[in-house]
Protein backbone atom coordinates (compact mmCIF):
# COMPACT_ATOMS: atom_id res chain seq x y z
CA UNK A 1 0.00 0.00 0.00
CA UNK A 2 1.48 3.35 -0.96
CA UNK A 3 1.65 6.01 1.70
CA UNK A 4 -1.48 8.12 1.66
CA UNK A 5 -0.68 11.79 1.76
CA UNK A 6 -3.49 14.28 2.22
CA UNK A 7 -3.20 17.60 0.41
CA UNK A 8 -5.53 20.24 1.79
CA UNK A 9 -7.40 22.64 -0.45
CA UNK A 10 -8.54 25.85 1.20
CA UNK A 11 -10.37 28.44 -0.87
CA UNK A 12 -7.43 30.22 -2.46
CA UNK A 13 -4.96 27.33 -2.26
CA UNK A 14 -2.87 27.35 -5.42
CA UNK A 15 -0.11 24.78 -5.30
CA UNK A 16 -2.35 21.94 -4.15
CA UNK A 17 -2.25 20.19 -7.52
CA UNK A 18 1.51 20.56 -7.59
CA UNK A 19 1.94 19.08 -4.14
CA UNK A 20 -0.28 16.18 -5.19
CA UNK A 21 1.77 15.71 -8.34
CA UNK A 22 4.98 15.63 -6.30
CA UNK A 23 3.49 12.99 -4.02
CA UNK A 24 2.49 10.91 -7.04
CA UNK A 25 5.82 11.30 -8.82
CA UNK A 26 7.64 10.08 -5.74
CA UNK A 27 5.44 7.04 -5.34
CA UNK A 28 2.87 8.14 -2.77
CA UNK A 29 -0.88 8.34 -3.09
CA UNK A 30 -2.22 11.88 -2.99
CA UNK A 31 -5.59 12.29 -1.28
CA UNK A 32 -7.28 15.61 -1.59
CA UNK A 33 -8.70 17.05 1.63
CA UNK A 34 -11.30 19.80 1.64
CA UNK A 35 -11.07 22.63 4.15
CA UNK A 36 -14.67 22.29 5.25
CA UNK A 37 -14.50 18.54 5.84
CA UNK A 38 -13.00 17.69 9.24
CA UNK A 39 -12.23 14.12 8.17
CA UNK A 40 -8.66 13.28 7.29
CA UNK A 41 -9.78 10.21 5.35
CA UNK A 42 -7.21 7.92 6.96
CA UNK A 43 -4.20 9.62 5.47
CA UNK A 44 -0.74 8.89 6.84
CA UNK A 45 0.49 12.46 6.46
CA UNK A 46 -0.75 15.89 5.40
CA UNK A 47 0.64 18.64 3.21
CA UNK A 48 -0.64 22.18 3.57
CA UNK A 49 0.12 23.64 0.15
CA UNK A 50 1.10 27.08 -1.07
CA UNK A 51 -1.29 29.75 -2.20
CA UNK A 52 -3.27 32.65 -0.82
CA UNK A 53 -5.90 31.07 1.39
CA UNK A 54 -8.86 33.43 1.62
CA UNK A 55 -6.77 35.91 -0.35
CA UNK A 56 -4.39 36.31 2.61
CA UNK A 57 -5.60 39.88 2.87
CA UNK A 58 -5.61 39.99 6.64
CA UNK A 59 -2.46 38.02 7.41
CA UNK A 60 -1.27 35.02 5.48
CA UNK A 61 -2.87 31.91 6.94
CA UNK A 62 -4.89 33.82 9.55
CA UNK A 63 -8.29 32.69 8.33
CA UNK A 64 -7.38 29.24 7.05
CA UNK A 65 -6.30 28.28 10.53
CA UNK A 66 -9.94 28.20 11.59
CA UNK A 67 -11.03 25.72 8.90
CA UNK A 68 -12.68 22.55 10.21
CA UNK A 69 -9.97 20.39 8.65
CA UNK A 70 -7.34 22.26 10.65
CA UNK A 71 -8.78 21.12 13.99
CA UNK A 72 -8.26 17.52 12.94
CA UNK A 73 -4.80 18.26 11.58
CA UNK A 74 -3.72 20.06 14.73
CA UNK A 75 -4.86 17.17 16.84
CA UNK A 76 -3.21 14.51 14.66
CA UNK A 77 -0.01 16.51 14.37
CA UNK A 78 0.23 16.63 18.15
CA UNK A 79 -0.10 12.86 18.08
CA UNK A 80 2.82 12.62 15.69
CA UNK A 81 1.28 12.58 12.23
CA UNK A 82 3.73 14.08 9.69
CA UNK A 83 2.64 17.50 8.45
CA UNK A 84 4.48 19.60 5.89
CA UNK A 85 3.45 23.22 5.39
CA UNK A 86 4.77 24.85 2.26
CA UNK A 87 4.75 28.64 1.99
CA UNK A 88 1.11 29.46 2.78
CA UNK A 89 1.04 26.13 4.58
CA UNK A 90 3.97 27.27 6.74
CA UNK A 91 2.06 30.45 7.50
CA UNK A 92 -0.99 28.42 8.49
CA UNK A 93 1.14 26.24 10.77
CA UNK A 94 2.50 29.33 12.54
CA UNK A 95 -0.95 30.88 12.86
CA UNK A 96 -2.14 27.55 14.30
CA UNK A 97 0.76 27.55 16.79
CA UNK A 98 1.95 24.17 15.58
CA UNK A 99 5.17 26.01 14.82
CA UNK A 100 6.54 29.04 16.66
CA UNK A 101 7.05 32.50 15.23
CA UNK A 102 5.36 34.21 12.33
CA UNK A 103 5.90 35.19 8.73
CA UNK A 104 5.77 38.86 7.87
CA UNK A 105 5.92 41.02 4.79
CA UNK A 106 9.20 40.70 2.87
CA UNK A 107 11.64 43.39 3.93
CA UNK A 108 11.85 44.75 0.34
CA UNK A 109 8.03 44.85 0.20
CA UNK A 110 7.83 43.00 -3.08
CA UNK A 111 6.67 39.54 -4.01
CA UNK A 112 9.70 37.49 -4.95
CA UNK A 113 9.87 34.45 -7.22
CA UNK A 114 13.27 32.97 -7.84
CA UNK A 115 15.41 29.86 -7.72
CA UNK A 116 16.87 29.87 -4.24
CA UNK A 117 19.97 28.14 -2.91
CA UNK A 118 19.37 26.49 0.43
CA UNK A 119 21.37 24.69 3.05
CA UNK A 120 19.81 21.61 4.64
CA UNK A 121 20.69 21.86 8.34
CA UNK A 122 18.58 19.14 9.82
CA UNK A 123 18.45 15.90 7.86
CA UNK A 124 16.74 14.11 10.69
CA UNK A 125 13.13 15.20 10.38
CA UNK A 126 10.34 13.13 8.89
CA UNK A 127 10.50 15.34 5.84
CA UNK A 128 14.26 15.72 5.34
CA UNK A 129 15.85 12.36 6.14
CA UNK A 130 16.76 11.73 2.51
CA UNK A 131 19.13 14.71 2.50
CA UNK A 132 22.56 14.99 4.02
CA UNK A 133 23.20 17.51 6.73
CA UNK A 134 25.01 20.39 5.06
CA UNK A 135 23.67 19.56 1.61
CA UNK A 136 23.13 22.50 -0.70
CA UNK A 137 20.00 22.42 -2.82
CA UNK A 138 18.14 24.75 -5.20
CA UNK A 139 14.39 25.15 -4.95
CA UNK A 140 12.05 27.94 -6.07
CA UNK A 141 10.70 30.44 -3.59
CA UNK A 142 7.71 32.61 -4.29
CA UNK A 143 6.27 34.70 -1.53
CA UNK A 144 5.22 38.16 -0.45
CA UNK A 145 5.12 37.45 3.27
CA UNK A 146 8.04 35.14 3.75
CA UNK A 147 10.05 36.94 6.41
CA UNK A 148 10.40 34.59 9.36
CA UNK A 149 10.32 36.34 12.74
CA UNK A 150 10.30 35.11 16.30
CA UNK A 151 11.51 36.19 19.74
CA UNK A 152 15.19 35.87 20.32
CA UNK A 153 14.55 33.13 22.88
CA UNK A 154 12.57 31.18 20.37
CA UNK A 155 15.23 31.65 17.71
CA UNK A 156 17.95 30.51 20.12
CA UNK A 157 15.90 27.52 21.09
CA UNK A 158 15.31 26.59 17.44
CA UNK A 159 19.01 26.82 16.72
CA UNK A 160 20.07 24.97 19.84
CA UNK A 161 17.79 22.03 19.14
CA UNK A 162 18.46 21.69 15.45
CA UNK A 163 14.98 22.84 14.58
CA UNK A 164 16.17 25.11 11.79
CA UNK A 165 15.64 22.69 8.94
CA UNK A 166 16.77 24.77 5.96
CA UNK A 167 18.46 28.12 5.69
CA UNK A 168 18.80 30.54 2.77
CA UNK A 169 22.16 30.66 1.04
CA UNK A 170 23.55 33.34 -1.22
CA UNK A 171 21.39 36.23 -0.04
CA UNK A 172 18.36 36.52 2.17
CA UNK A 173 15.38 36.80 -0.18
CA UNK A 174 12.86 38.23 2.26
CA UNK A 175 14.48 39.45 5.45
CA UNK A 176 13.95 36.27 7.44
CA UNK A 177 15.68 36.35 10.80
CA UNK A 178 18.85 34.31 10.79
CA UNK A 179 18.17 33.36 7.14
CA UNK A 180 15.62 30.82 8.29
CA UNK A 181 13.81 29.15 5.38
CA UNK A 182 12.20 26.29 7.26
CA UNK A 183 11.73 24.95 10.77
CA UNK A 184 10.44 21.86 12.54
CA UNK A 185 8.52 21.26 15.74
CA UNK A 186 10.25 19.54 18.60
CA UNK A 187 9.28 16.07 17.49
CA UNK A 188 10.34 16.71 13.90
CA UNK A 189 7.05 15.50 12.41
CA UNK A 190 5.80 19.00 11.60
CA UNK A 191 7.90 21.02 9.18
CA UNK A 192 7.21 24.45 7.71
CA UNK A 193 9.06 25.59 4.61
CA UNK A 194 8.98 28.87 2.75
CA UNK A 195 10.58 27.36 -0.41
CA UNK A 196 8.49 25.15 -2.69
CA UNK A 197 9.98 21.66 -3.08
CA UNK A 198 6.95 20.59 -5.14
CA UNK A 199 8.22 22.88 -7.88
CA UNK A 200 11.57 21.11 -8.02
CA UNK A 201 10.55 17.53 -8.76
CA UNK A 202 10.78 17.54 -12.56
CA UNK A 203 13.74 18.91 -14.51
CA UNK A 204 11.33 20.04 -17.23
CA UNK A 205 9.31 22.42 -15.11
CA UNK A 206 11.61 23.38 -12.25
CA UNK A 207 15.17 24.46 -11.67
CA UNK A 208 16.05 20.80 -11.07
CA UNK A 209 14.86 17.92 -8.94
CA UNK A 210 16.33 18.90 -5.58
CA UNK A 211 12.86 19.04 -4.03
CA UNK A 212 12.18 15.33 -4.37
CA UNK A 213 13.88 14.50 -1.09
CA UNK A 214 11.16 16.12 1.00
CA UNK A 215 8.61 13.73 -0.41
CA UNK A 216 10.76 10.61 -0.47
CA UNK A 217 11.80 11.29 3.11
CA UNK A 218 8.23 10.75 4.21
CA UNK A 219 7.93 7.56 2.20
CA UNK A 220 11.26 6.41 3.58
CA UNK A 221 9.90 6.62 7.08
CA UNK A 222 6.77 4.72 6.23
CA UNK A 223 8.40 1.99 4.18
CA UNK A 224 11.91 1.41 5.43
CA UNK A 225 14.03 0.16 2.55
Amino acid sequence: MPTRVGVVTFPGSLDDRDAARAVRITGGEAVSLWHADPSLHDVDAVILPGGFSYGDYLRAGAIARFAPVMESIIESARDGMPVLGICNGFQVLCESHLLPGALVRNDHRKFVCRDQHLLVENAGTTWTNQYREGQEITIPIKNGEGGYVADRDVLDELEANGRVVVRYLGGNPNGSQREIAGIANEAGNVVGLMPHPEHAVEALTGPGTDGIGFFTSLLGVREPA
Binding site: Y57, F66, A67
Partner: protein, 76 residues
Amino acid sequence: MARVVVDVVLKPEILDPQGQAILGALGRLGIDGVKSVRQGKHFELDIDDGVDDEAITKLADTLLANPVIEDFAIRR
Protein backbone atom coordinates in the same frame (compact mmCIF):
# COMPACT_ATOMS: atom_id res chain seq x y z
CA MET B 1 8.32 65.07 20.41
CA ALA B 2 4.72 64.14 19.76
CA ARG B 3 2.82 61.12 18.62
CA VAL B 4 0.48 61.56 15.67
CA VAL B 5 -1.84 58.88 14.42
CA VAL B 6 -3.15 58.74 10.87
CA ASP B 7 -5.90 56.29 10.00
CA VAL B 8 -6.44 55.57 6.34
CA VAL B 9 -9.65 53.95 5.17
CA LEU B 10 -11.03 53.06 1.76
CA LYS B 11 -13.67 55.45 0.53
CA PRO B 12 -17.09 54.06 1.33
CA GLU B 13 -18.02 53.27 -2.27
CA ILE B 14 -14.80 51.36 -2.93
CA LEU B 15 -14.83 47.58 -2.66
CA ASP B 16 -12.94 46.29 0.36
CA PRO B 17 -11.98 42.69 -0.35
CA GLN B 18 -10.05 42.51 2.92
CA GLY B 19 -13.03 43.44 5.04
CA GLN B 20 -15.18 41.02 3.05
CA ALA B 21 -12.80 38.16 3.72
CA ILE B 22 -12.85 38.85 7.46
CA LEU B 23 -16.61 39.13 7.56
CA GLY B 24 -16.83 35.78 5.79
CA ALA B 25 -14.52 34.19 8.35
CA LEU B 26 -16.51 35.47 11.33
CA GLY B 27 -19.44 33.28 10.51
CA ARG B 28 -17.22 30.22 10.48
CA LEU B 29 -15.64 31.35 13.75
CA GLY B 30 -19.02 31.42 15.40
CA ILE B 31 -18.87 35.14 16.16
CA ASP B 32 -22.25 36.69 15.54
CA GLY B 33 -23.47 40.23 15.47
CA VAL B 34 -20.79 41.81 13.31
CA LYS B 35 -22.56 43.53 10.44
CA SER B 36 -19.69 44.97 8.49
CA VAL B 37 -15.91 45.10 8.57
CA ARG B 38 -13.72 47.56 6.71
CA GLN B 39 -9.96 47.22 6.84
CA GLY B 40 -7.71 50.24 6.60
CA LYS B 41 -4.23 51.29 7.59
CA HIS B 42 -3.05 52.78 10.84
CA PHE B 43 0.11 54.85 11.04
CA GLU B 44 1.87 56.00 14.17
CA LEU B 45 4.33 58.82 13.65
CA ASP B 46 6.74 60.36 16.11
CA ILE B 47 7.33 63.94 15.13
CA ASP B 48 9.20 66.97 16.35
CA ASP B 49 7.00 69.53 18.02
CA GLY B 50 7.75 71.96 15.24
CA VAL B 51 5.95 69.94 12.58
CA ASP B 52 2.66 71.67 11.83
CA ASP B 53 -0.71 70.33 10.75
CA GLU B 54 -0.15 71.36 7.20
CA ALA B 55 2.96 69.24 6.88
CA ILE B 56 1.20 66.26 8.37
CA THR B 57 -1.75 66.67 6.07
CA LYS B 58 0.56 66.82 3.09
CA LEU B 59 2.35 63.74 4.31
CA ALA B 60 -0.89 61.85 4.77
CA ASP B 61 -2.22 62.94 1.43
CA THR B 62 0.86 62.07 -0.59
CA LEU B 63 2.52 59.16 1.17
CA LEU B 64 0.20 57.48 3.60
CA ALA B 65 -3.06 57.51 1.69
CA ASN B 66 -3.87 57.04 -1.96
CA PRO B 67 -6.41 59.84 -2.45
CA VAL B 68 -7.84 58.11 -5.51
CA ILE B 69 -9.37 55.40 -3.37
CA GLU B 70 -8.74 56.34 0.27
CA ASP B 71 -9.68 58.93 2.88
CA PHE B 72 -7.64 59.67 5.96
CA ALA B 73 -8.08 61.08 9.45
CA ILE B 74 -5.37 62.63 11.61
CA ARG B 75 -5.30 62.42 15.40
CA ARG B 76 -2.73 64.31 17.42
